[in-house]
């Protein structure tokens, strides 16, 4: 089972489950303690310059974007970003806080490529390693499993493999060639959920994306929640807990925390806002103006909600589909 081929990219984070274990044991409590705090406190306390950072989910869906705005306000820099959270990545790139990017896909789906990504990468400001969507999710999954790698049959035969940091080996059981993906342990993970209790037990409606995997792959984890619920509600349906308290460092109450993205069953995405942002993002100066207004120009999520306006948010609530 020798290594037949290796991707040329740098590993932006070390795939060592034993280092992760030791860190967790030293730094995280196993006790159920009240972790409710403001976004300012959570980001100040748990996000550091140089952190490897990942966010969940994808595109404009259940995006932990209120937390991302706070990271930008606090100017946490030299971040090594991974994941598929397009809104968050575009914002962080726009604020020039990113050094390296494990990229799978950054674009605005139907609205096309990201001007911000183009400027950041084509200028050489941000280093990249390429992966597929599946590969990135599996890298978090490997970390969540507490193992240094995971074998898959994807990315084989491609330049995506070549410009990743994966390796190809022969399976010692079947002789098949398989691609080994290194686990991606994050310093800090951000996830936005429908409901959480003050200890950090979380429930999500609809698709779960890679919340299970990313929450377990993160040394430090901040969750923002549309609603804070009583622990009795958690205990009534323990099978609905997707993120248990012991993974979580901070719980932030963040209504409309995914705006301008959507939150299934709660509010639809703000098409008008997004289109404006995407138009403005084509120009660096206008991008800066957008950040000035919607990120730096507000102190927190409360002020952001006021800026957007409840009328508009109520309309988005009325547009979302039911079950």
């Amino acid at each position: 089972m020798k290594v037949l081929e290796s991707g040329v990219a740098e590993l932006f984070a070390k795939p060592d489950p034993y280092e992760f274990r030791e860190w967790v044991h030293k730094n995280k409590s196993q006790a159920m303690t009240d972790k409710l705090m403001t976004e300012q406190e959570a980001v100040a306390k748990f996000v550091a310059d140089g952190d490897s950072l990942g966010t969940e989910l994808y595109g404009t869906v259940r995006a932990p974007i209120s937390l991302t705005r706070e990271i930008i306000r606090q100017g946490k820099k030299h971040l090594r970003v991974a994941g598929q959270g397009i809104t968050e990545i575009d914002f962080l790139l726009a604020a020039d806080l990113v050094d390296t990017l494990d990229i799978t896909y950054v674009a605005w789906e139907v609205y096309g490529i990201s001007s911000i990504l183009r400027r950041a990468v084509e200028s050489g400001r941000v280093k990249t390693a390429d992966w597929s969507n599946g590969a990135m999710a599996w890298r978090f999954k490997a970390a969540a499993m507490g193992v240094p790698f995971i074998p898959v049959s994807s990315m084989l035969g491609t330049d995506t493999f070549k410009y990743s940091a994966a390796k190809m080996v022969e399976c010692p059981f079947t002789g098949q060639k398989v691609c080994l993906l290194p686990a991606l342990f994050l310093d800090i993970g951000l996830i936005h959920v429908h409901r959480a209790d003050k200890y950090g037990n979380c429930q999500i409606d609809g698709i779960s994306g890679f919340a299970h995997e990313l929450s377990r792959a993160s040394k430090k984890l901040i969750v923002s929640a549309e609603k804070i619920i009583d622990t009795d509600e958690i205990k009534k349906y323990p099978e609905h807990t997707i993120i248990p308290y012991y993974l979580v460092d901070a719980v932030v109450h963040a209504p409309f925390g995914s705006h301008p993205g959507e939150m299934c069953y709660l509010y639809w995405r703000d098409e008008e806002h997004l289109k404006t942002f995407l138009e403005e993002s084509k120009d660096p100066i206008k991008t800066k103006a957008y950040l000035d207004k919607y990120v730096y120009g507000v102190k927190n999520q409360d002020e952001y909600i006021k800026l957007i306006g409840m009328d508009r948010l109520k309309k988005l609530q009325s547009m979302i589909g039911g079950r």
């Binding site: 989910l57 994808y58 595109g59 404009t60 869906v61 259940r62 990229i103 799978t104 896909y105 950054v106 674009a107 789906e109 139907v110 490529i113 990201s114 990504l117 990468v121 084509e122 200028s123 050489g124 280093k127 990249t128 390429d130 992966w131 597929s132 969507n133 599946g134 590969a135 999710a137 599996w138 999954k141 898959v152 049959s153 994807s154 990315m155 084989l156 035969g157 491609t158 330049d159 995506t160 410009y163 098949q176 060639k177 398989v178 691609c179 609809g206 698709i207 779960s208 994306g209 890679f210 299970h212 995997e213 959507e262 299934c264 069953y265 639809w268 995405r269 098409e271 979302i320 589909g321």
Partner: protein, 255 residues
């Protein structure tokens, strides 16, 4: 005959490729419209699968992304990305739809960078997204190329993001990819292509109304094979157009 635009035609051609009672990995854009149209036309029991977790959605309303709430509205499953990708790895997804900035004669695709250098690149494109899993695991993949020209149908990709038949017959298997998979069809604004069974080279099967075989070849940088019997694709029917416009995309988000 009703008038229609190129996008509408592409959607109809892609839609007709979707068989009833099968599963298909649906990406953003034309595949979503095609799947929605197919479900309302000939394939009511088509099962759309979206990579972030939705399977069997009604597609009553058009999703705007592969993870939005419409991808699992009245679905039978709302899981996560790993389950979906692994389901395709285990052989449960029949069709996959792909797109790209460049395609070569073996159906390999580029969605990563334009230019000779990986980093810093001349033009940075989105990246693989889920395309590697779709192209590696689905039994039949269908590429949709909105613009058929020599810059897009190229001899050599700037970057091989997503595997087609790689360097030709047997090369997918040699690379370790699952047997009996690979590109099945390519739909462009000029015609419909397949792949030669023996050489795995892209082969023109049908042209769109008014398009000549030569036009397709002239707009292709590589040597495109031509089927013995090139047919003409039927234009969208009145019924297809009506459903597409009134039911699939009434808000004109795409068409």
């Amino acid at each position: 005959m009703a008038e229609y635009n190129e996008t509408e035609f592409l959607i109809c051609i892609a839609s007709r490729l979707m068989a009833d009672k099968t599963t298909a990995f649906i990406g953003t854009g034309i595949p979503m419209l095609a799947a929605s149209l197919a479900k309302k036309m000939h394939a009511p029991n088509l099962v759309p699968a979206f990579e972030f977790g939705g399977v069997g959605a009604s597609l009553q309303k058009l999703p705007l992304g592969v993870g939005d709430s419409r991808t699992f509205h009245k679905a039978v499953l709302a899981a996560g990305i790993c389950d979906m990708m692994e389901t395709s790895a285990r052989g449960f997804i029949e069709y996959g739809f792909l797109g790209g900035a460049q395609i070569d004669m073996f159906g390999n695709l580029n969605t990563t960078v334009i230019g000779a250098k990986y980093w810093p690149p001349k033009v940075r494109l989105p990246g693989s997204g889920g395309a590697n899993e779709v192209a590696s695991f689905c039994w039949k993949t269908i590429a949709i190329m909105r613009q058929h020209d020599k810059r897009r149908f190229v001899k050599k990709l700037d970057f091989l993001t997503t595997p087609g038949y790689l360097t030709g017959p047997g090369s997918r298997e040699a690379a370790g990819l699952p047997p009996n998979t690979g590109p099945y069809r390519v739909v462009s604004n000029l015609g419909l292509m397949g792949f030669d069974e023996k050489t795995k080279q892209m082969t023109l099967l049908a042209t769109h109304p008014g398009i000549k075989v030569e036009q397709v070849l002239e707009n292709t940088e590589f040597e495109m094979l031509v089927a013995d019997n090139v047919t003409e694709n039927k234009p969208p029917t009145t019924e297809e157009l009506r459903i597409l416009r009134e039911q699939v995309d009434p808000d004109k988000l795409y068409i």
